[in-house]
Amino acid sequence: MSLFAEAFADGVAALASGSVDVWGVVATSLRVSGAAVAFAVVVGVPAGLYLGMRRSAARNVLLVLANAGMGLPPVVVGLVTAMLLSRRGPLGSLDLLYTRPAMVIAQVIIAVPVVAAVTAAAAASVPFELRLQARSLGASRLHEAMLVLREARMGLIAAVAAGFGAVISEVGAVMMVGGNLEGSTRVMTTAIVQYTRMGRYGPALALSAVLLALIVAVNVVLAQVQRSAERFERS
């Protein structure tokens, strides 16, 4: 255990001394993954509602795809995105490879299936009788969808948490399309890989602790939202 204790002390010292730009790295992580989750919610929640509410052959196929997409290997997403954006690739003229937007694109591709699949599961669990009742009272399709959304809000928060968890802790894709450039595309996970490769376990371990603390903090906030939603239900 002395290896861990020494490394951790060394790492805390490195972060405290400012030799490792920890806050810059944390800020980049949050900006990139925050933007990616926001996009993924805009695309994934309506898609998930459709998958959870409809009953059709096409929906069944799409649902399987969304569920399989949850296991989409980030490294494959990274490879394909990098090839598309590279100078010799079809989107080379955009000059996007090794920039933050490229990282957001890759993370959106990773997060959308997660958000959609979890939303679909939550929407599907809303009692069908409730929806029938709403329809008999003259609710439009949109009203009905809003009602399902309200009933499934617990699952919705879980979807956001799952999507955020998937992208904030992902390393393969952001390394490939971001390039771990200091001060611009370096995020916590890629910095951890870099310090480990350099044999500097201290900063790597300290950054890991920051990353874990951040994931816990985000989930605490989401749990609060969930609890206030519960209170709202009882009122």
């Binding site: 590279s86 100078r87 010799r88 490879l97 090794y98 390394m175 390039g179 771990n180 450039l181 200091e182 001060g183 370096r186 890629t190 910095a191 870099q194 480990t196 490769r197 350099m198 044999g199 500097r200």
Partner: protein, 287 residues
Amino acid sequence: MSDHRMWLAFGRAVAVAAVVVAFVALQTGCALRQTQKASPQRLVLATTTSTQDSGLLDVLVPAFETAHPEYAVEVIAVGTGEALRLGEQKDADVLLVHAPEDEAAFVAAGHGIERRDVCYNRFVLVGPASDPAGAAHAADAADALKRIAARQALFASRGDDSGTHKKELALWNAAGVKPGGAWYLVTGQGMGETLKIASEKQAYTLSDEATFLTMRGSLDLAQLFDADQSLRNQYGVVPVTGAKNERGAREFADWICGPDAQRLIARFGVDEFGRSLFVPNAQGGGS
């Protein structure tokens, strides 16, 4: 002789033949097994990404295993920094790295038995073919970097404490420039990734020649400057003190400094690039 009897005799003959065949097979099997060695011992070689990426190890490791079938080599390709760390922790038996001062310090601290020269290759300054900073016309490597800094042309640095990164920092030092700012891209990654990033961003970078030549086809970069003694990149071998397989480590070091391996190194790359990528310079070695 009735049919029945004939079948019996036939069956007996078949049985005897079967026993004889089985016996002979068993004998040869045992004999074969006796000539074979016990299963090979693990030998962990920690090396830098450049020896792995250039393909040199794909030639050397099988040759060593043929010469010494008692060992099975496991290669861990990392930066020099982590390779030394692995040696310190005895997670590697032998190191093949290229940071002579660090290797000497590693041995002085009692982590390594000795360090020996194995071979060298060159560092090359590569960049966009248009060469906006005019690095190709520089007097020496430090002057080339001065020109790049003066133009604030993009420069990709590995920034990972590797041998190549240390060389780059030494050259900036010689140029009297403290690199930093928007034009100085720090990748924190290996040579291959850094070359890819330099190619995409049309930036200059310092690379070992082997990795650059191996990847040249997929890069939009040109070799701009290499005519400088200071760009020599010396590789050394260090058997780790008290390693799990110390004997194997010593034998590997002796072998790689010996005539057979040195010949293999001299020939490496000639077929593909028209010249050898590494120049062997071991001061003799074991058999």
